[in-house]
């Protein structure tokens, strides 16, 4: 909200500079987002001038050369000013900008030669000064009803609001009372202690009771909590005076005519929006407030036809709808230049209802923004009082007897106990009871002493915001000043901060991959349905049981990702394109599947996934050049799970997005499903414009569950082990793991370890077969083993391998 500071100072002037006002408002809860300079600059260059002579310019039909008295000592010659306005005349008092003056748009005025005549300044129009729309030409000060003498050379700023600082305020949603200048003035009063002038609505020229010739019926009091109206006769429509126009412009509104400007001015001052009807155009002189019918159409002021529903409220006369309540007036009853009778409406609408209608219809205005925050019915009275005074003053209007006042019954004020001890307990610092009383009174609460504190009666305008003791404590705290609150630490009884086991191991897993040179990405949790197709998932795939966003920003973000592969491949593609072909990325994050719990929560799991492409090692002057493949991904997975102390097995198995011959499922010791490892299906790689790529993904929750809680020392024997190698030719169908399992079973405990250290396929071993070289390590607990000791074990091993179709290699 924009508040011209001069306007604010009219009600509360703390004799502080703009920066102090800004600081005090900000630190008491009304944040000043910015301070704008509005209007002219180099304000001393703007003065009153008296036009002494006006002569026709010799070389230009439309220009006049004026001699203008700009004051100063008696021997100073009048200034020569060239003026193009048709209405300039000798004897006028005018507004003059002298060279060096800075106009509202920021341009600086210079002496200029106009068709051979040097002009020592400029005679100004209202719009040039930011004081309203242009009339016939220059602004003639004598025509204004200003209570002042116009001495030549007098500072113009003393007469007209040609420059002001404007505060841009952030008003929190609990403070609709601060959506008007007077509400902000009360805050400034409380925050600085500077006196607050009486409310602008204290003088009300109006009277209660029925109004002749106008009637209002409210059919939906649940959505219209009050409807007030007054009628004015003999209204003459015209432009607003400069002081009023200047305030509207500074506050960000465009002056239109005196009646409309009055409604806007009253809103800016009191926060209560108003609407002016031309009563002669209200058919039947009667307004009805009712819910719209579903699908009912209304043509609004902007020329659009709007379709309403039964949650929306409209105002109609005998000829049908004239406006949408709180949002926009209708063309038919708009105030026009020939308007003579005006009905001024001030109503209280249901805030959430206006918010909804405004959002659904795409209609937002200064008025709807205020209504939706929830104004109080008392504010209607405030607005009517201020408006009536201005209508009489500025429009020559006559106020008809009475005030229409429908759908309202006063509510009693609430009184709340504020315990002194509670203030201290919440804030951590005491605030004297006298100070509490002072603060609450400044905020318009009535206070009486109570045994253990104060009884505070909540003013009407604050009744929605302040309903409990804690709300009073907030009032005390923010006005007393949060800077007085000491920085202490909690007692921390029973607080022992730590990470959970899962959090610690998750970090360890991520660090293991970082330590192996991978870069972590942060992908979108969203994905689109096309991801599922690009991953070649069949209709019944479990990953298709996705969580759907009901109101996504786009189709591409309409699902919650069921896998990390999408974001990993997106990042891989991005980086191949921008940074070269070598990819080593991982992500650690949540994936989602439809849950089956009654509360509708998803099945969320934390997964860790990686994607590799291009060379395993970064490019080097002596690189080995190996490309990332199934085994590169599996080696990483081994390191990752090894770091967590979790054993696993891979089994030939595939998923639609993986290369069917180069992929495996990853399972824990007891068959727990950890995830997958494999090369991407070539069609999937192609879909992301990637060359060969390998990936893995594991469910960290399942992995961490399998991790040992505490590692206990395992003694290692001091006797040396005996190492033997064995090479066996096996049919391709026998997996390495099968051979190893057979060796283990045959050897028993004396076999400490067995690993594959070479694989050979080729002519020497024949088609459909391969040679596995196994490194065997034997160890006994207390003795050094010899080849002879092991000979029987080795025989059993050989037999077991032969059972698998193996043949020992020479």
């Amino acid at each position: 909200m924009r508040v011209p500071i001069d306007w604010l100072r009219e009600y509360c002037d703390p004799s502080l500079g703009v920066s102090e006002v800004r600081e005090r408002l900000t630190m008491s809860g009304t944040k000043v987002e910015a301070v704008h300079h509005h209007g002219v600059d180099a304000v001393e260059r703007f003065v009153v001038g008296r036009v002494l002579e006006v002569a026709q310019h010799e070389k230009a039909d439309r220009l006049k050369v004026c001699k203008v008295d700009l004051g100063g000592p008696g021997d100073v010659q009048p200034a020569t000013i060239v003026c193009g306005a048709p209405n300039v005349a000798a004897g006028q008092s005018v507004a003059v900008a002298r060279p060096g003056a800075v106009m509202p748009d920021g341009t600086q005025l210079q002496s200029a030669k106009l068709r051979g005549v040097v002009s020592e300044g400029m005679i100004l129009s209202a719009s040039e000064l930011g004081l309203g729309e242009d009339g016939a030409g220059i602004l003639v000060l004598d025509d204004l009803t200003l209570d002042a003498e116009f001495a030549p050379g007098a500072p113009l700023a003393d007469l007209l609001p040609i420059a002001t600082e404007v505060l841009e305020l952030e008003i929190t949603p609990n403070r609709p009372d601060c959506l008007g200048v007077y509400g902000v003035a009360r805050e400034l009063h409380a925050a600085t202690g500077a006196p607050l002038s009486g409310a602008p609505w204290e003088q009300d020229p109006g009277s209660p009771g029925a109004v002749a010739g106008a009637q209002v019926t409210v059919d939906c009091p649940e959505l219209c909590r009050r409807f007030t109206a007054r009628v004015f006769g003999d209204v003459s429509i015209g432009p607003s005076p400069p002081w009023l126009a200047a305030r509207l412009i500074a506050a960000g509104q465009r002056p239109i005519n005196n009646v409309v400007d009055i409604t806007n001015y009253v809103m800016l001052l009191t926060a209560q929006p108003m609407h002016a009807f031309d009563l002669d155009r209200v058919s039947g002189g009667r307004l009805v407030v009712r819910r719209a019918r579903d699908g009912e159409q209304v043509r609004t002021l902007d020329g659009n036809t709007r379709t309403l529903d039964s949650q929306m409220v409209l105002i109609e006369d005998a000829d049908g709808p004239t406006s949408i309540a709180g949002l926009m007036g209708g063309e038919r009853s708009e105030v026009a230049p020939d308007t003579r009778r005006v009905l001024l409406e001030a109503a209280t609408w249901d805030g959430p209802n206006i918010h909804r209608s405004s959002a659904r219809l795409g209609l937002r205005s200064e008025a709807s923004g205020r209504f939706e925050k929830g104004l109080q019915p008392e504010q209607c009275t405030h607005a009517q009082a201020v408006a009536a005074g201005l209508m009489l003053e500025l429009c020559g209007a006559r106020l008809l007897e009475g005030t229409i006042d429908e759908a309202w019954s006063p509510r009693p004020a609430q009184t709340l106990r504020l315990r002194e001890a509670r203030v201290r307990a919440i804030l951590g610092v005491p605030v004297a009871r006298s100070r509490q009383r002072e603060i609450l009174r400044a905020l318009d609460f009535q206070c009486t002493d109570a045994e253990d504190g104060l009884d505070a009666t909540v003013p009407a305008l604050r009744r929605d915001d302040v309903t409990r003791e804690i709300d009073l404590i907030e009032e005390v705290a923010r006005i007393h000043g949060l800077e007085h609150i000491p920085a202490t630490l909690p007692a921390r009884r029973g607080a022992a901060g730590r990470l959970s086991r899962e959090q610690r191991l998750r970090r360890a897993a991520e660090d293991a991959l970082v330590g192996r040179g991978l870069y972590e990405i942060a992908g979108w949790s969203f994905c689109g349905p096309e991801l599922l197709d690009r991953l070649r998932l069949p209709a019944d795939d479990e990953l298709r049981a996705v969580v759907r966003v009901a109101n996504p920003l786009s189709e591409a973000q309409s699902l919650m990702r069921p896998t990390l592969l999408g974001s990993l491949l997106d990042a891989a593609r991005h980086n191949v394109f921008h940074n070269g072909p070598r990819i080593a990325l991982f992500e650690s994050g949540t994936v989602f599947r439809q849950g089956d719990s009654p509360d509708g929560l998803a099945d969320e799991r934390h997964q860790l996934g990686a994607v590799l492409a291009g060379a395993i090692a970064p490019p080097s002057w002596r690189a080995d050049g190996a490309e990332a493949d199934f085994f590169a991904a599996k080696a990483l997975l081994e390191a990752l799970l090894g770091r967590l102390g979790v054993g696993f097995e891979t089994q030939r198995s595939t998923r639609p997005f993986l290369h069917p011959g180069r992929s495996a499922s990853v399972r824990g010791a007891h068959g727990a499903d950890f995830g997958f490892v494999g090369e991407l299906h070539p069609l999937v790689a192609q879909a992301w414009e990637l060359p060969r790529a390998a990936a893995f993904s594991v469910d960290l929750g399942a992995v961490i569950e399998a991790a040992p809680d505490t590692v206990t020392f395992r003694p290692y024997p001091s006797v040396p082990s005996l190492r033997q190698d064995i090479a066996v030719i096996l049919p391709d169908a026998v997996a390495a793991q099968q051979a190893i399992a057979a060796v283990r079973a045959a050897a028993g405990d004396v076999l400490e370890s067995v690993t594959v250290f070479d694989v050979y396929e080729g002519e020497q071993v024949g088609e459909g077969r391969r040679s596995l070289a196994l490194a065997l390590s034997f160890r006994a607990a207390h003795e050094t083993l010899s080849d002879e000791d092991i000979a029987p074990v080795r025989e059993r091993i050989v037999a077991a391998l032969e059972d698998l179709g193996g043949e020992l290699r020479a």
Binding site: M27, G29, R175, N353, H355, R356, A359, I426, G428, I470, I473, E474, A477, L482, I485, T488, L489, P490, R492, R493, G494, A495, G497, R498, L499, Q503, R507, E510, V514, G517, E520, I521, G523, W524, S525, A545, V547, R548, V549, A550, N551, M560, D570, H574, N575, H578, L585, T590, Q594, D596, P598, D599, G600, L601, A617, P618, P619, S620, W621, R622
Partner: protein, 386 residues
């Protein structure tokens, strides 16, 4: 006789010192200390000498032999060292070539690194780290956080709603839902929203979940992803927050200030100050926004050359988070059960809560100019942090 020994010794010493290689040294050893060499022969002849001469000559000869042996060894070591030196001289590499094979550095994403840094700070302050669901119920995301039934944040323009999975529409579920619905029957706009499940718009729903699961005193932080339907230069539809919640019998606004001061100094430097500014949130009262003094200009608002500080835009303060004392109404949404007995009676417990944006803090601390860089995952970004 003694003179003869001295002569032999001096001659041998000179030759050994001049020896050029190991072979020559071996020849000298044979020549001077070998079986037939004069000095050992002389020693062997000592027994034939007169007793008076015997001791002196024997000692001198022995001494000479030992000295020569020592000198031979020393000279041998010297020659070996020279030889190695020559060898190493020729065996040199271009030390300015890059290491090989190259070891990629590997990094955590900045958001992970930042989140961990924050977690560790709060763990140090006695907070335990909790996590919670990202798909959340309207109950925990809004209702239990004291949002009015018509609060604007509930609008579909401000919150992502999640479609109910068909398999949660079973009879049992319908009963539970109609019970919940009857509780909300008073709501003027129930049915206005697409569903009763959302993508959490903040980490705050874990406040009530945490209080349901644990008795007071409670000190927790909750990091995690959050979602809102905004997408522009200053908003991404997905972002990360860290929630803080401390509830005990006597946790004051001052304790909030002190805790956040400790946090601000840990993240932004020991010279930082924090200030609380009154604000409004539905689930805290009093509510504050928290600013930290600008670390680029030291809080003065201008740089050394007098120009306006570009980081805080001359304000001297940077807004970093929203916080406040937990609104008593929120405790009202925490049922007392066996798990959290004696429960959360607002007349008996009080505490504070905050929510901070991980991206915001990372941007401030590391000068990241655009939120979207976090989710582009470009290696040129990823390689810089973490």
């Amino acid at each position: 006789m003694i003179e003869r020994i001295t002569e032999l010794r001096e001659a041998a010493e000179a030759q050994i010192a001049a020896a050029a290689d190991a072979q020559e040294l071996e020849e000298l050893r044979v020549r001077h200390l070998g079986r037939r060499a004069p000095l050992p022969q002389l020693l062997r002849g000592v027994a034939d000498l007169a007793p008076a001469e015997r001791a002196a000559v024997g000692a001198a000869a022995n001494q000479a032999r030992q000295a020569l042996q020592a000198q031979l060894q020393a000279r041998e070591a010297q020659l070996q060292a020279q030889q190695l030196g020559t060898l190493l001289e020729t065996d040199s590499v271009d030390v300015t070539l890059p290491g090989a094979p190259p070891q990629p550095v590997g990094r955590l994403h900045l958001l992970t690194a930042m989140r961990r840094e924050l977690e560790d700070i709060f763990v140090g302050l006695g907070f335990t780290v909790l996590e919670g669901p990202e798909v959340e119920t309207v109950h925990y995301n809004f209702d239990a956080l004291n949002h009015s039934p018509t609060h604007p944040a509930r609008a579909a323009s401000d919150t992502f709603y999640v479609e109910r999975a068909p398999n949660t529409d079973g009879a049992r579920t319908r009963e539970a839902r109609s019970a919940a619905a009857s509780q909300r029957a008073a709501l003027p706009t129930s049915g206005e929203y697409p569903s009763d499940v959302v993508l959490r718009t903040h980490t705050s729903p874990m406040q009530v979940r945490a209080m349901e699961a644990h008795p007071p005193p409670l000190y927790v932080v909750i990091p995690g992803r959050t979602y809102r339907p905004d997408n522009d230069a200053t908003h991404t539809p997905q972002f990360q927050q860290i929630e803080g919640l401390a509830v005990d019998e006597d946790i004051t606004l001052g304790d909030l200030k002190g805790t956040l001061l400790a946090f601000a100094r840990a993240v932004f430097g020991d010279a930082r100050e924090v200030r609380l500014r009154p604000h409004f949130f539905p689930f805290t009262e009093p509510s504050v926004e928290v600013d930290v003094s600008c670390f680029q200009c030291g809080g003065s608002g201008h740089l050394r050359d007098g120009s306006r500080c570009p980081l805080c835009k001359g304000e001297g303060w940077l807004e970093i988070l929203g916080a406040g004392e937990v609104d008593p109404n929120v405790y009202g949404y925490v049922p007392t059960t066996e798990a959290n007995a004696p429960g959360y009676d607002p007349e008996r417990v009080q505490g504070f809560a905050w929510g901070m944006g991980v991206e915001r803090i990372a941007m401030l601390k590391h000068g990241v100019p655009d939120l979207r860089l976090f989710y582009d995952n470009d290696l040129r970004f990823l390689e810089q942090f973490g």
